[in-house]
């Protein structure tokens, strides 16, 4: 859905981020040092940059100045408040400290992409057209009425497609942290989505984890 440049000198981490982002439908460019990143930026402007601070060649703090309009999320092992403030002062959209959970990174990527209206927010699967910008879903050309929670649940599942989300995570994402309800609420809403959209094969139950939208 969006073109994301990953600048991280640890191949292990770089690959991990790329794998996850690709899985949920983004296109990734992996870059391993500062100067390469600078060159890549000139060739093809990404929708978002995920940037390590300590890089060979050019540091992340230097590289962000070259980024121009491209939103940046710092991913770094530096935990100091000073570094965090510096990163944000330089215009980074977010700052994630290692070790982090991949779902957290994905969530922040989604937030930033939405804020900047980067990437497409439309997707059609099995004749079901989903427009997350306008919050409209049609099946075979006919509009499907979804409740607000059902729509948010669908959005969460699709944005993290191919990745399983736990019921608790879904509660957090859709109902918010304060929601005191049961995780069975999630099950009920998932059943509704499967029925209304014919997604029985798409929204799968993952044993001991939760639900996953497979594509």
């Amino acid at each position: 859905m969006a073109l994301i440049m990953i600048v991280e000198d640890e191949p292990l981490i770089n690959k991990l981020i790329a794998k996850n982002l690709t899985l949920v439908g983004h296109e990734c460019v992996s870059v391993y040092d500062g100067h390469d990143a600078e060159a890549q930026l000139r060739q093809r402007v990404p929708d978002l940059m995920i940037l390590d601070v300590m890089l060979p060649g050019l540091s992340g703090f230097e590289l962000i100045r070259q980024a121009g309009e491209v939103p940046v999320i710092f991913v770094t092992a530096k935990v100091g408040l000073e570094d965090r403030l510096k990163g944000l002062a330089l215009g980074a959209e977010d700052y994630i400290v290692k070790p982090f959970e991949m779902q957290e990174l994905l969530a922040r990527v989604n937030v930033v992409l939405r804020r900047f209206r980067r990437g497409t927010e439309r997707l059609t699967v099995d004749g079901v057209a989903m427009d997350f910008g306008r919050r409209v879903v049609t099946k075979d050309g006919e509009r499907v009425e979804l409740t607000s929670k059902e729509f948010s649940l669908l959005e969460a599942l699709v944005q993290n497609r191919n990745l399983a989300l736990s019921r608790d995570k879904l509660l957090d994402l859709v109902w918010g942290y304060d929601y005191a309800g049961d995780t069975r609420t999630v099950d009920v809403h998932v059943q509704q989505l499967r029925k209304k959209l014919g997604f029985k094969e798409r929204i799968n139950t993952v044993y001991k984890v939760g639900y996953r939208f497979d594509l």
Partner: protein
């Protein structure tokens, strides 16, 4: 409130000085008075003698006819000269110009008496072969007046001198104590955090000596503090590095586990992810082992014994021969007969690390050579390779924990960045010095000087 040392010294000195001064003045006054009285008595004695001589002469000559007339004549005559006389004959008849109420001294005595605020000196003597008892009396009030004047003068002088003394002594003591106060200001400044403050060392007395000692002490304390701070900083950096080192594998392990758990991917991808997890956990294990080793060596007392360098190098060569061969690297030993006093096990660890690094630095067809020889009578072990070499700025950091010349390559090959740090620790434990010489493209030589 407790008095300051200065105040105590000052008061003690002042009291002693004032006691001494006023004591001296007081005794001087007494002495002067005593002398004045004695002088007056001498005058009185000679006057009395003169009067007696004259009276006895006139008495023998029978002048004036009657004794009474003679007495009256003398009495009146001498009264004008402020000398008072009294005569008593054998029958108790008395003629006297001496005021009534004054005690008369015993025969042949001289006394001094007060009457109505007037001091008299009285001398009584039997004269004219015992015919009369003559008492001579003289007003010596001037003695008391002089004495009072003198006392007033001395008390005044004492006050002035005391005040002057107190002031001068205060100033002098202040001046003497000034270096102590200055030193105190400096110590307060230092204890207040200004470590650059130093005492004034000018002069050549006990205070300047103290100032010098104090400055030396401060320098030493500050130097030690700096040393401790540097050690603490080094430890902190090591910890920071360690935290950073662990964060990357941990992120990877967690991330790939999450991936296996959640992602809708093929079996092949899952296996790949699992392999990453294993690789990274092995790295963490390796790091922890080396850290433990290093801590162990740091605490350990080196078990020194005579070690034959040739045998040691040969053993290390054998151990690495296969891995070296696999990379197409030739590994050889060239040794003189060198005997070291060292801990063979630790030295073997050190050499293994060096050889491992050397082999990794070589391209296919490279050479690694281990040598042992004597230089200026001291044993030297060296590991030389003809591999990729290092630049000077890289050399400076190689023994720092977690430093890697080529991070991504080192990680690929399972390097922790701790090997040479461990080597340096072992070398230090042996009192030996580890040194490097290298240039990019020209290979690296590592020396261990005992």
């Amino acid at each position: 409130m407790k008095m300051k040392f200065f105040e105590r010294t000052y008061l003690l000195m002042l009291v002693l000085f004032l006691l001494f001064l006023n004591g001296s003045i007081f005794s001087l006054v007494l002495y002067t008075r005593h002398n004045a009285l004695e002088a007056a008595e001498q005058i009185c004695l000679s006057e009395q003698y003169t009067v007696r001589q004259a009276f006895e002469r006139d008495y023998s000559a029978g002048k004036f006819g009657s004794d009474r007339l003679l007495q009256m004549t003398y009495g009146v005559f001498y009264q004008e000269k402020e000398i008072l006389l009294s005569f008593v004959d054998g029958e108790g008849n008395t003629y006297s110009t001496v005021p009534e109420g004054l005690d008369h001294p015993a025969e042949g005595k001289m006394i001094s008496r007060m009457l109505d605020g007037v001091r008299y000196i009285l001398i009584t003597e039997r004269i004219c072969d015992g015919a009369f008892l003559m008492t001579y009396a003289k007003d010596v009030s001037y003695l008391d007046r002089d004495f009072n004047r003198l006392t007033v003068y001395f008390v005044g002088a004492s006050f002035v001198a005391s005040a002057l003394l107190a002031t001068l002594m205060y100033l002098a003591l202040r001046r003497l104590y000034a270096p102590l106060d200055r030193l105190r200001t400096v110590t307060q400044s230092i204890s207040g955090g200004n470590l650059n403050a130093r005492a004034d060392e000018s002069g050549d007395d006990e205070f300047s000596g103290l100032a010098k000692d104090f400055n030396r002490m401060t320098d030493r304390v500050i130097a030690q503090m700096e040393e401790l701070r540097a050690t603490a900083r080094q430890k902190q950096r090591m910890l920071d590095d360690l935290a950073h080192e662990m964060r990357t594998p941990l992120t990877g392990i967690h991330g790939y586990a999450e991936y296996i758990c959640n992602a809708n991917v093929s079996e092949g991808e899952r296996i790949e992810a699992a392999q990453y997890i294993m690789q990274e956990s092995m790295r963490l294990k390796h790091v922890s082992e080396i850290l433990l080793d290093e801590a162990f060596i740091r605490e350990k007392t080196v078990a020194v014994s005579a070690v034959d360098a040739g045998a040691l190098l040969e053993e290390v060569r054998r151990r690495h021969a296969i891995t070296a061969a696999a990379r197409g690297v030739v590994l050889v030993c060239k040794t003189e007969r060198v005997t070291l006093s060292a801990d063979a096990d630790l030295l073997s660890v050190l050499l293994s690390n060096l050889v491992e690094n050397a082999v990794k630095a070589c391209h296919n067809g490279g050479h690694v050579e281990m040598t042992a020889y004597y230089e200026n009578g001291r044993a030297v072990l060296a590991v030389t390779d003809d591999g990729i070499g290092m630049a000077a700025d890289e050399l400076a950091h190689v023994t720092e924990p977690f430093y890697r010349v080529d991070r991504s390559r080192a990680r690929r090959e399972g390097g922790t960045g701790l090997g040479l740090a461990l080597c340096a620790t072992i070398a230090t434990a042996h009192g030996a010095k580890l040194s490097f010489s290298s240039a990019p493209g020209e290979g690296t030589r590592v020396f261990l000087h005992f």
